[in-house]
């Protein structure tokens, strides 16, 4: 039936969990008052008239962090199977992971020196 046993529960749970926000928002929709005056729908800006929108270009530094994140997140994903099977790999597995992590540390040092991890 299912090749991966236990995952039918995951599918079921996805369905059950999806109903939580739907139920919450529907219940609120049925109960809450509606028809407010348009003033309430203006953008909040500490009581001032909002100047301009917020859909503008923003600083590149967020992009740099995202880029470094992708590298290290993929690294940890690669390390998971290694950690699970480590008891069978022995010393060779340790040395191989050491080389792998060393390359990434070089990458981290490079990003650090280049200022990709600086906020200001």
């Amino acid at each position: 039936m299912f090749v991966l046993s236990g995952y039918e529960y995951l599918l079921g749970f996805i369905l059950v969990v999806s109903t939580v926000p739907v139920l919450a928002l529907t219940a609120s929709k049925l109960l809450r008052p509606s028809g407010r005056d348009p003033e309430t729908r203006t953008t909040y800006e500490s009581g001032m008239e909002p100047k301009g929108g917020a859909w503008i270009q923003f600083n590149i530094r967020y992009y740099m962090f995202a880029l470094v994140f992708v590298i290290f997140d993929v690294e940890t994903v690669f390390l998971y199977p290694w950690a699970v099977a480590f008891h069978r790999l022995g010393l060779l597995g340790f040395v191989e992971a050491l080389i792998f992590i060393a390359i990434l540390i070089v990458g981290l040092v490079y990003a650090w020196r280049k200022g990709a991890l600086e906020w200001s």
Binding site: V20, T43, P50
Partner: protein, 372 residues
């Protein structure tokens, strides 16, 4: 170790005795643990909100909520009900679809992660093979919702808060994954059941906290940052950004963000207790206790008692971490965004890598003590 109580088996057998076919009995079982867990998670949020208010009050020498129910227990329920009745204000300039979708995307992975939280040998929804990795991957979904909330509001505070939230949660995800990785290496499995099993047998001395002290600190700092708790609540730093990405949210949509943050806090506390404090395991090995009292370990009453004590143990350990998080909130000042990112990338990440390699090295040197 006894296999422990197996509710699923008992339920299916009972239904089959009533004359239902096996397939129907299995399908009838399917939604029960899920609904139970969802209700439990929601109750956990209410209790945590109440605890947060009471402990905060105690930390500031106030009384806190006291009128709604005895000791103000019903205050959280009253707050929740209030949110249901609140008007739903969508800013005229916002993108209404993304604005509605964002809280849903944030709350969804928080609840879904409960799939792998065990309260006993067989007391979890499903022992899927990828176990703890499911939580790591699900927690990557929430930043998309935060970004969506920040950007769709079309408000400058929201945008800044959303960007900060994403930068923060992706920065601390890597140290978090590395801390979990060291535990996974010791138990040779991703399954949360196996992780607890590997720690049991020696009581309090067998728990991972003794073998992974650095990992625990790493995990807890990263978990606090992931759940945006003080001292890492920069995305909603009220002195700077009003309420961050939640600024424009009101009513039930705000309620969903609120619930998601507390579900995440309880979830992180539960996982900290499972990964480092032996989950449902007792401080004194159970076989010793039953030997003292000379009880038959396979008796049904004994099993029920053990199962309920196991659930209590898990919750006690988890709420210890919740208590710690609440006390930290009133003890440590908020960090600056550049300090936050420096801490994540330049301190926790290298420490996480070193901790992982140290665990691997110690496992090679002392295979028995580090899980074979």
């Amino acid at each position: 170790m006894t296999p422990g109580i197996d509710l699923q088996q008992r339920f299916i057998e009972t239904l089959r005795d009533l004359g239902l076919p096996q397939g129907v009995a299995k399908v009838a079982w399917l939604p029960l643990p899920m609904i139970l867990i969802i209700i439990g998670a929601t109750l956990g949020v209410l209790v945590t909100v109440w605890l947060e208010r009471k402990i905060s009050a105690a930390a500031q020498q106030r009384i806190g909520p006291e009128f709604a129910g005895p000791l103000g227990i019903l205050q959280a329920v009253a707050d929740g009900l209030k949110l249901v009745f609140k008007a739903d204000i969508v800013p005229a300039k916002a993108d209404p679809w993304l604005f509605t979708l964002a809280p849903v995307i944030v709350v969804f992975p928080a609840f879904l992660s409960y799939l792998i939280v065990p309260f006993g040998q067989n007391l979890l929804i499903s022992n899927v093979g990828i176990g703890i990795f499911l939580w790591i991957s699900l927690s990557s979904i929430a930043p998309i919702g935060l970004m969506m909330a920040g950007y769709s509001s079309n408000n400058k505070y929201s945008l800044l808060g959303g960007l900060r939230a994403v930068a923060q949660s992706i920065s601390y995800e890597v140290p978090l994954a590395l801390a979990v990785l060291a535990v996974v290496m010791m138990s040779n499995s991703l399954s949360t059941i196996d992780i607890v099993e590997q720690q049991s047998g020696y009581g309090i001395l067998g728990w991972n906290v003794w073998r992974q002290p650095i990992g625990l600190i790493l995990f807890w700092i990263a978990a606090l940052a992931e759940t945006e708790r003080l001292p890492f609540d920069l995305p909603e730093a009220e002195e700077e950004l009003v309420a961050g990405y939640q600024t424009e949210y009101s009513g039930m949509k705000f309620g969903l963000f609120y619930v998601a943050s507390y579900v995440n806090l309880v979830l992180s506390a539960l996982l900290a207790s499972i990964l480092y404090f032996g989950g449902w395991d007792f401080p004194i090995p159970l076989t010793v206790v039953s030997g003292w009292l000379s009880i038959n370990e396979t008796g049904p009453i004994f099993q029920i008692v053990v199962a309920s004590l196991g659930i209590t143990m898990t919750l006690l350990k988890a709420y210890f971490f919740v208590f710690l998080a609440i006390l930290l909130r009133w003890t440590v000042p908020r960090v600056r965004i550049d300090q936050l990112l420096d801490l994540g990338w330049k301190f926790l990440l290298p420490i996480g890598l070193v901790n992982l390699l140290l665990t691997a090295g110690l496992k090679l040197a002392f295979p028995f003590a580090f899980g074979g």
